[in-house]
Amino acid sequence: MSRLPVTLLAAWLLIALAGQVLPLTPNEIDLEQLFAPPFSAARPLGGDELGRSLLDRLFTGAGISLLVAGVSVSVSATIGTALGLLAGYLGGAVDRVVSRLIEIFLAFPGLLLAIALAAFLGPGIGNVVLALSVMGWVGYARLARNQVLSLRHRDHVLAAVALGRGPVAIMRLHLLPLLLAPLLVEASYGVASAVIAEAGLSFLGLGVQPPQASWGSMIREGVRYLLVAPHLVLAPGIALSLVVLAANRLGDGLRDRLDSRLSRTYA
C-alpha cells in the first residue's frame, strides 16, 4: 500500500492540531489585504473578500472537518456496530426492527437526510455532528449484521455457546474482534464521506456559521468572487479533495490487504 494516503491524513491531523496551538487570526479583517493574491508576506495564501488570511482560515477549517469527521464517525460506528451485532446475533424481532430501520434510513440518497436534519435542527457545528451521526450509523449496522450472520455458526462461537457463555459475552469476545478489520475499512470511507458532508452542509449554509471558517463555507463565500479571486475557491477545494482522496485510498488499501489476508487464511 502506498504511503501517500497515510502521509496526507497525517498532514491533515497535524495541521488541524497546529491550528489549535498557533496564534492564528482567521477572522481578522484587513481591507488593505482585500483579495490579496497568494504568496504575499502578510497573506501567504492570499486574502479573501474581507482581507482575511486564507491560510489561517484553511487551518481553522482543517480543525472543523477533523472534529466533525472524528466525532460523527466514532458515534455512528459505535451505535451502528452495536445495533448490527444485536440484530445479526439475536435475530427474530430485534433483527426485523433493525433491518427495517436500516432500509428506511437508506431511502434518503446522498446528503438528503443530513440536509433534512440540519433544516429542522438549525445550523451549528453540534447539529452537524448530530445529523452526520444519525445519517452514518446505517453503513456500520448493515456491515456488522451481515458479517455476524456468516460468523455466528463458526466453530469457536458454537464452542462458546456449548460452554455456557451468555450472548453478551459471545458478542463482545467472540464476534466483535472479528468485525474490527472490516469496520476499519468502512470507517476510512466513512471519514471521507463525513468530510464531504460537513463541507457540503456548510456550503449550503446549514453547517458552520459565519464568520467561523470551514472548507465548505469558504467555498460558499468564494464562489461569488470566482472572476476576481479564484484562489478563494481553489485553496479550500484542494485541501478538501486531498483529504477525501487520501481517506478513500486508505480504505481501498486496507480492503485489499484484508482481502488478501482473508483469502490466505480461509481459502
Binding site: R100, L101, E103, I104, A107, F108, P109, G110, L111, L112, I115, A116, L117, A118, A119, F120, L121, G122, A192, I196, A199, G200, F203, L204, G205, L206, G216, I219, R220, G222, V223, L226, L227, P230, V233, G237, L240, S241, V244, L245, N248, R249
Partner: protein, 301 residues
Amino acid sequence: MLSRVLDTVIVLLGVVTLVFFLGAVVPGDPVDVMLGERASGADREALRSAMGLDKPLATRWLSYLSGLVHGDMGTSLVQSRPVSALIAERLPATLALAGSAFLVIVFLAFPLGLIAALHRNAWPDHLAGLFALLGQSIPNFWLGPLLVLAFSIWLGWLPVSGSEATGSLILPAITLGTSLAAISMRMLRASLLEVMSQDWMRTARAKGLGVWQALWRHALPNALLPVITLLGLQLGGLLGGAVITEVVFAWPGIGSLLIDAIGQRDYPLIQGVVLLIACSYVVLNLMTDLLAGLLDPRIRA
C-alpha cells in the same frame, strides 16, 4: 416479487413517519414563521387550532398520511399555496438535469469501463482509475465552480449559471454526473474482468470469434446486470445529488426550492421535497430490482 413490493410499502410508510416526526419535534414553531415572534397569545392559539397543531401527535400523523394518499402535501407557510403545486412547478427542471446527468454517466462510464477492462493494468486502465478516484473525491460543490472557472470564465464557452441561456444545462449535468460515472465505471470494469476470465469466454475465442465479437456477444450481456442495478440506484441518487448541484448553478429545480424553503423555515415545503426525493428513490430501487429479476431469472428464485 409480491413480498418485495410489500416491503417497499412498509419502507415508504417508515420514511413518511420519519419525515413527519422530524417536522413535529422541530424546535421552532410554524406559527412563529407565519405570524412573527411578537404576535399575541390569542392570535397564536387561533392559528394553532386552525392548523390543527393543538391536536395530539398521532391524530396529526394520521391526517398527514391520509392527505399524502390523496396527493395533498400540506400548504406552504410562506407562500400559502399547496406544496404539491410548488413542487410541480420546479420538478421539470430537476428531471431535465437528472436526465442529462444520467446521459453523462452512461457516456462516460461505458467507454471508460470497457477500455479499462480491455487494457487491464496498462496505461489506459491507470488513466481510467485516476478518473474514478478523482471523480469520487471531488465533491459537486467544488467540481461545479471548477468547471465554471474553466469553461465559463477562462474559455467563455458556456454560461455561468441560471437556466435561460443555451447550453446552460451542460455544466450542471457534467457536475452531477461525474462522481456517479466514476462509480459505474469501476463497477463495469470489475464486472467485465470477471466475465472475461470465464471458461466460456475462452471457448468463444477458441471457436474463432474476434475480441470485439466475443466481447459484444458474450461478455457485455453478462457483465451488464450488476451495472444496470447500479445505474438504477444512481438514477435515484441523482435526485439527492441534484440538491447541491442546483444551488451551485442557481438551477430552478426542487433542490434549490428545498434550500430556499429551509432558509425561510417553510417546514411543510421542506417535508414535501424531502419526501418526494426519498420516495422516488425507494420506488426506483424497487423497479430496478424487478427489472433485474426480468433480465436474470436466477435472481427471481
